[in-house]
């Protein structure tokens, strides 16, 4: 709409140069990720060819490298996670968007948004120390004894294995599924609901016949993005999957995924073919996630992302009588009418009964989804709080056996790394978003797509990238390299969030400013950014909270475990004695508090703002 107004009419000014520089930097990083991963894996591809993808042998001792079993393991664990996450997540989303009382839906939704930020290392720690023994002792033997399930859950109950990894992934992707599908459900117009209601549909029938079909593309997008996230999760999976590549014959069997193998192998892979082969695993993972995420973005775009009107053909109301299952984003509201079974043969009490059952099922999904998260929070607090004291937060770590000591170096290290990442990422994120705000067209579309895709790139891949461009060439691991890895992770999140924040500012303001003869930089800085400031802060805080909780990008870029909270958890968590485990829990508690505080602050800022605007 703004095209003719915002097209540059004046000579290029510093503002424009800055924006272009930022976008150029971002594009360069995007390209560098692809080129680095491609170039570093070239030797493996040259050595093994495409056979790398289906050869099952991974034996560094004999220079045999094949990623086939790891691809299978990745697909199987992700698939199992989706079997759990999609029904539960959809149930929760439906409950929150359609069935729950309003007073309940708002706080639960907010809690789910916050929990999306729970760092994977914390989930991994909890799964390793709490869930794994429980599974080995109780859950897995029971499954193995249950008639009908025996063939799927056969063999010894180890604890760590495909099942446990799938459960961990489920917990990690559930917030994504819930939040995005809830948005998709809420974006369905009220008219369709009311039409169905007017025709006498029960609450569940409204959902089934009017809302779900219309929201289908959005839900598909949500599921696809969740698949992308599950594929790329590495740290938490490596902690609980049992690290045994093989064709899965039972879900209790230990397995391995691309991500877990990279975590275990990259550090020690010998320079040359070995390392190149691990990077080739990263390349496969990158290709998989980019493809899946691109599909997800496409689906969300088609169905209309939250808040934006859905493009596409105008909806028609009636369709031919036989079309019970509406295809695509087609018209739905009156399918009820056309469904003779529902309308005529089913009595009202039966329909009410069905509605009740579905209502309760959805509520059960909320409990099923919330239970692990509540348990996770409970254990982190219960096992971590005992170690917390002023001394613990302000003293450097001490070796086992020496009383006192704390996690001060880890706290300051994490703060330095994230701070450095923010210094690099915030300007690029803001200027790139201004660039996107200002322009339509191919360049903007490409950058936007690039940002969306980079958001879904597994963080372990970014860790390898930072190692390749900053650690190896400069001969030491460093805060700078770790901060850079986090910056690359945060920038695309910031671009997306910032752009949304800027778009929330009425365009008239920008145009009015220009019409008064002000320079673009002035309009952008004084009017648009100022007006959007609270939302921008929110977006950047959310990105920061994501960065604080990351482990994988630091794994190959930081000198010692005591130099970052997440790494200290990864190091102390699996120790087999109480004091080290307590340190890990306490770190997890501090980390969780930091992440949730950032997220809560971000949302409080946004909330105050919207209230003010209301």
């Amino acid at each position: 709409m703004t095209g003719w107004l915002v097209r540059p009419r004046r000579p290029v000014r510093a503002y424009s140069v800055l924006c272009w520089t930022a976008v150029g930097l971002f594009a360069a990083v995007l390209a560098a990720v692809a080129v680095t991963i491609g170039a570093e894996s070239a030797r493996a591809w040259a050595h093994a060819g495409l056979g790398f993808l289906w050869s099952g042998t991974w034996n560094p001792a004999r220079d045999h490298y094949g990623g086939g079993l790891l691809v299978v393991g990745t697909v199987v664990t992700t698939g199992c996670a989706m079997l759990l996450a999609v029904p539960i997540g959809l149930g929760i989303a439906v409950y929150l968007a359609e069935l729950s009382p309003r007073w309940l839906s708002a706080p639960v939704s907010a809690a789910i948004d916050l929990l999306a930020a729970v760092p994977s290392i914390v989930v991994g720690l909890w799964a390793l120390l709490v869930v794994s023994p429980f599974f080995a002792r109780d859950v897995e033997p029971t499954l193995a004894r249950t008639p009908g399930l025996r063939s799927v859950f056969a063999g010894p109950a180890y604890g760590p294995g495909i099942l446990l990894a799938a459960v961990v992934l489920t917990i990690m992707v559930l917030p994504t599924v819930v939040a995005l599908s809830r948005n998709a459900l809420q974006a369905v117009s009220g008219a369709e609901r009311e039409a169905a209601r007017a025709l006498g549909a029960t609450p569940w029938q409204v959902v089934r016949t009017a809302v779900l079909p219309a929201a289908r593309p959005g839900i598909a997008g949500a599921v696809t993005l969740a698949v992308g996230r599950a594929l790329g999760e590495s740290i938490a999976v490596a902690m609980v999957i049992g690290n045994r590549p093989g064709l899965p014959r039972s879900l209790l069997q230990p397995g391995a995924t691309l991500g877990s193998a990279i975590v275990n192998q990259f550090g020690e892979a010998s320079p040359g073919l070995g390392e190149s082969s691990v990077v080739a695993l990263a390349a496969v993972l990158l290709a998989l996630t980019v493809a899946v995420n691109a599909a997800g973005i496409g689906l969300l775009g088609r169905g209309g992302p939250p808040g934006r009107p859905a493009p596409g053909p105008p909806r028609r109301l009636a369709e031919s009588p036989g079309a019970v299952g509406p295809a695509g984003a087609g018209p739905t509201g009156l399918v009820l009418l056309a469904d003779p079974i529902d309308a005529a043969t089913r009595s009202l009490p039966r329909r009410r009964w069905a509605s009740r059952v579905m209502y309760n099922l959805c509520a059960a999904c909320v409990i099923a989804g919330a239970a692990p998260l509540v348990a996770l929070l409970y254990y982190t607090i219960a096992r971590g709080h005992g170690a917390l004291s002023l001394g613990f937060l302000t003293q450097a770590p001490r070796p086992a056996g020496i009383p006192g000591g704390g996690i001060a170096t880890a706290i300051s290290g994490s703060a330095k790394i994230v701070g450095l990442g923010l210094v690099m990422a915030v300007p690029v994120g803001l200027l790139s978003a201004l660039f996107l705000y200002d322009r339509r067209g191919k360049a903007a579309g490409t950058i936007r797509f690039g940002a969306d895709v980079l958001t879904g790139v597994p963080s372990i891949v970014l860790g390898i990238f930072a190692y390749g461009v900053l650690v190896r060439p400069f001969h030491h691991s460093s805060t700078v390299a770790a901060g850079f890895a986090l910056a690359v992770l945060m920038v695309p999140i910031m671009i997306g969030g910032n752009e949304e924040a800027l778009r929330a500012v009425p365009e008239d303001l920008f145009e009015a400013g220009l019409a008064l003869g002000a320079r673009r930089a002035r309009v952008a800085g004084r009017i648009v950014v100022r007006e959007a400031l609270a939302r921008l802060v929110t977006a950047n805080l959310l990105a920061a909270s994501r960065g604080v909780g990351e482990t994988a990008p630091l794994l190959f870029t930081v000198a010692a475990p005591s130099a970052a909270l997440t790494l200290l958890i990864f190091d102390r968590g699996p120790q087999a004695f109480a004091s080290a485990q307590q340190t890990a829990w306490a770190c997890a508690l501090v980390l969780l508090a930091a992440v949730l505080a950032l997220g809560a602050t971000a949302r409080a800022v946004a909330w105050r703002l919207t209230r003010h605007q209301r």
Partner: protein
Amino acid sequence: MRRTASGVLMAVLAGATLAGCSSQAKAPTAAPQVTDRLGVAYDTATASVATLNGAGANSIDPFFEKVFYDYHSANSKTTVNYSPAGSSVGAKDIEQGTVDFADSEIPLASTDLAAATGGAILQIPVDLGGVAISYNLPGVSGGLKLDGPILAAIFDGAITKWNDPRIAAVSGATSLPDIPVVPVHRADSSGPGWDLDSYLLKTAPAWGAKTGASNPSKTWPLTNVGLGEQLNTGVANYVHQTAGAIGYVEYGYALQAGFTNSALKNQSGAFVSPSLASIAAAGTQASGLSATNFSIIDEPGAGTYPLANFSWTLVYQKQADRAKGLALGKLIDYVTTTGQRQAGPLGYAPLPAAVASLAASTLQQLQTATGAPLFQ
């Protein structure tokens, strides 16, 4: 206090190759200055600030953590970061030059050394440790004895239950429970894995046929049996929380976790449990120890534990940054001398005198960028 420490170490080592150097050990009384067998006055007040980054063996970590902590307490200008990510990580990092020092449970072979980007690498023995075969059997508080063939049968999946008569036959233990055996191996490559593989190759005729290899490997050769866990900590944690689990962990970790450990049959036919004494006994079997003749697996002797090894610290011979090189040399010298006193309580045996002097003479080979000796 440092001076006392220095005096003690000199008393121990005066007879070794460094008699000449020790004559310089006349520290001025007032200044916090330490002169030791490396022969360079090291003024802790004027020494330049150095941060030394290291990476490598996970097995040595409890020892390193303690010794580095002590060293930093006495020499606040030297800060040491150690990433215990595994021997192979250390080997790679030193080859790539991304760390100042590395540590490997198994010294690097000449082919690996050739890949190093910064020239010749010195390998210095810094501790003597053992690998425990730890198990978790509720109600069984010890007494398990295993030999090579039975251990091989456990780790190749042939024995699946603890009450298998083959275990009872060698162990003499009669009442082992009827629960599954869960063998745990290292998912990453490791020194303890090399040690156990080496022991099984030497003592269990069928093992080599199963693994298809005749030389021990740091990467665990049979990954399709049991469970793989990352680092000693991962294996120890799994054994700790799972009834029926058996795994190999550095003795220091087993000690820390309070594990019950199996006695193993050594070359003389004696069943020996891991302990400071039995690991030290293995250390005394080393003769003509060097980076190419390092194995002390399955040595003879009534009290010799068959799974023991020296850990090796790796540094570049030529230190481009002289100040840093000095700090590094001093640190490793401390580790191999005074620091050895910390070994016992943590589950490592102090270095035998001959090995300590090998460490000292190797450190003497450190050079500046131009090839001049760093310590004279």
